[in-house]
Amino acid sequence: MTTTVGADDLDDLTLGAVFLATGGGGDPYLPLLMARKTLETHGPVTLVAADSLADDALVVPVGGVGSPTVSLELLPSIDEAAQALDAFEQFSGRKIDAVASFEVGGGNSLIPLMAAAVKGLPAIDGDGMGRAFPEAQMMSYAIAGVKPTPAVALDYAGNRAIFETSDTATYEYHIRAFAAAAGGMITVAEHAMAGTQLKAGVIPGTLSFARELGGVLRHHRGPIDQLMPALKACFETSIYGDCRLLFSGKVVSKSTRISGGYDVGECLIEDFADARRHLTVTIKNEYLTACIGEQVLATVPDLIVIVDVETGVPINAERLAFGQRVAVLGIGAPAFYRSPEALAVTSPRCFGIDLDYQPL
């Protein structure tokens, strides 16, 4: 199935992507401004289903790697993503047939659309996470066996680096070192793959679904009780599992610290109805587990989403703050992430949390 994404679709798509990003992905404000401008200049982007690609098509995911906080100062550029793909084509000597996304969430859902618009290429309707995760080996492309390299990274000044590493862990280490050296935020084309690999590794339909979800959130914006039926209906026909209201209450504490380069910590939410009942949400850039004491309500890779209880607007982990009145939702992960291979790299234990995955 083929659809297009134009400038007018971007608000909904971004809202839906921020929801699916489960607290991660950063503030999409600047990428959204740039994406709107790009699509207004170059016209809508065609979204293609992975299944419709030729088996030998060359698909290249592109996105930002580094600190979203840095890009509040070291501003992103409108042509960066297209330049990263140009560099990839130059170094690999091959023409790219379609552009793909690392993740749904923040800027990384919009960067591939900008690159596709400028280069006149289709973008894959799908991504490599179905949400946001903090590390490259958690990407469905990597789980399906796609190698991260050859990869091309580009910094704000147009400096370029090519990576060819022995394994994903080494790649992750090197690319983060380059990001730090290059000012804290870079644009990267990596995990290049053939059409056959994409079909095995993509989480399908997530961009068009993010747009649909964003439309539901916009149309039914309001108290969570009114929003839930529409949300449930929206997820029922998706690749995701059930969408459930897990908890609603007020954020009474949030503590995060930097550990190993990630924003790690937890947040405590007090039940509106019972001040002695607290939900603990653990955070590593994204929301990972939701528990009341020993009782586990949801764990990664299922999606834990925190929204404003009055409006249903999703709240990023860095924006989550003391005193906010929130609803916590749980959504079943796509089937891909419930496989043993995916759980081996995305279960709570992979984040240092002493819990097994407990499906919603």
Binding site: S67, L74, L75, S77, I78, I258, G260
Partner: protein, 524 residues
Amino acid sequence: MESETMSGLRIGVDVGGTNTDAVLMRGSEVIAATKQATTADVASGIRAALGALPLTHHQDEIRLLTIGTTQFTNAIVERRHLAPVAALRLVAPAGRGLTPRIDWPEDLSRVTDGGGAVFGGGHLYDGRVLSPLDWPAMTAFVENSLAAGVQNFAISAAFSPVFEGIEQQVADLILQRNPEAGITCSHELGGLGLVERENAAILNAALLPLAKQVTEAFADAAASLDLGCPVFISQNDGTLMSLGRARRFPALTFASGPTNSIRGAAHLTGLEDALVVDIGGTTSDIGVLHQGFPRLANHVVMLGGVRTNFRMPDINAIGIGGGSVVSDDGSEIGPASVGHQLLQRALVAGGDTLTATDIAVAAGQSIFGDPALVSELPRALVDRVQSNISERLSRAVEAMKPGAQRLPVVLVGGGAVLVTADKMAGGDVLRPLHAGVANAIGASIAEVSGEAQAFLTDASQTRESLLADLEQQATAQAITAGGDPSTVRVLEREQSAIPYMEQGNLKLRVKVVASLALLTGADA
């Protein structure tokens, strides 16, 4: 000596959209208070309010005049009295495609448009130079702007809140060409977030000519009443700035009104932690008093349709006030309001519109207008509206409550009589004396502040030693602003991190406040 110097008199003034309030204070005691109509030129309203205070023969005893004003906020909101600004941004080659004033409302962009350009310069997060400065290009831009009659400039460089020298170098370049130019450097207005900080700098620069006019009018008003004391202006964080500083940073007065009412409520009740409800004519503004100061919003603040990162009080405004229009069956209250026409349109004033004030008068809560004109209102209607108002306010207060603990709820503002409940959101309701002029009182008791922030990037420095350095810098700033060194206290120590980057990339921020030396006597 504190006991002696606190006997010095001081005046607080609050210039609102409808009323100009003034209070004469001795220590914590309110000696006199007045409400006068705000005038179109503002200054004559201030003169009228000051004139209504019993100042004769006491002019020499007045130690301080502080003024809180909404003029600059209103200028932005109404797009009036704004000057064109040339915006220089130093971040190239990054940020290609993001030009100054991006995503601004068209009308505000147009009235402030004095050109904009992006140049090399600025820093990376670790202090390395992002790209070299392009002096010839910048010089040409500045000269062209001046030749086109643009007198006001906003300068914003990447990571300038941490590495600020570069913006000053560019300011010097402009001043060499025109010593009279109005210049705003973004690092003086906000923290990380280049686009939001630049927006704030442009808004501030657009207000500079108005700021000159307004601060001169304030000085004249004080002089015309033979007040020889210093005049200070309230800032949005609840502290004061001199007229000289207000002339350079008018944008720092945005939202000083709600801040002053929260601070005034603190003063009137002696509380350090409370919820404050300021009930005006059209809205009720609910804020949180935390350790004697308003809790600040920790996210992006929209001002006149523009994203900024001003540190503003976290306010939940709902459409209930003394002028709120009440439907005939009492089921709907506000957000429509008769506003400043209350004296003509309310039933008690002989008008034909049922307002929240009419309900309060009918219930015997308020003495205003002619109570006979509302004596026919059914008791059931009055009760329903009163409980409806209390319930809605209580819900809004609950939403602002920082945690599970019970906090007292302080009602201030002219509409405080609308609320009959003695408990809201679990806390006791307080109605202090002089609640109607709480924001003028808040203006009169403000302190001065100093603030410093830096990244912890140098491996040889510990978090503690950097915090100590920052505290020293902030303290020096507060003393320069007129603070008494013996009263300096740390208000905030904030730590934030850059996610994804290695351990140690922490941003630390310290804010201190101090009492004014001229009130504590330390300047004598």
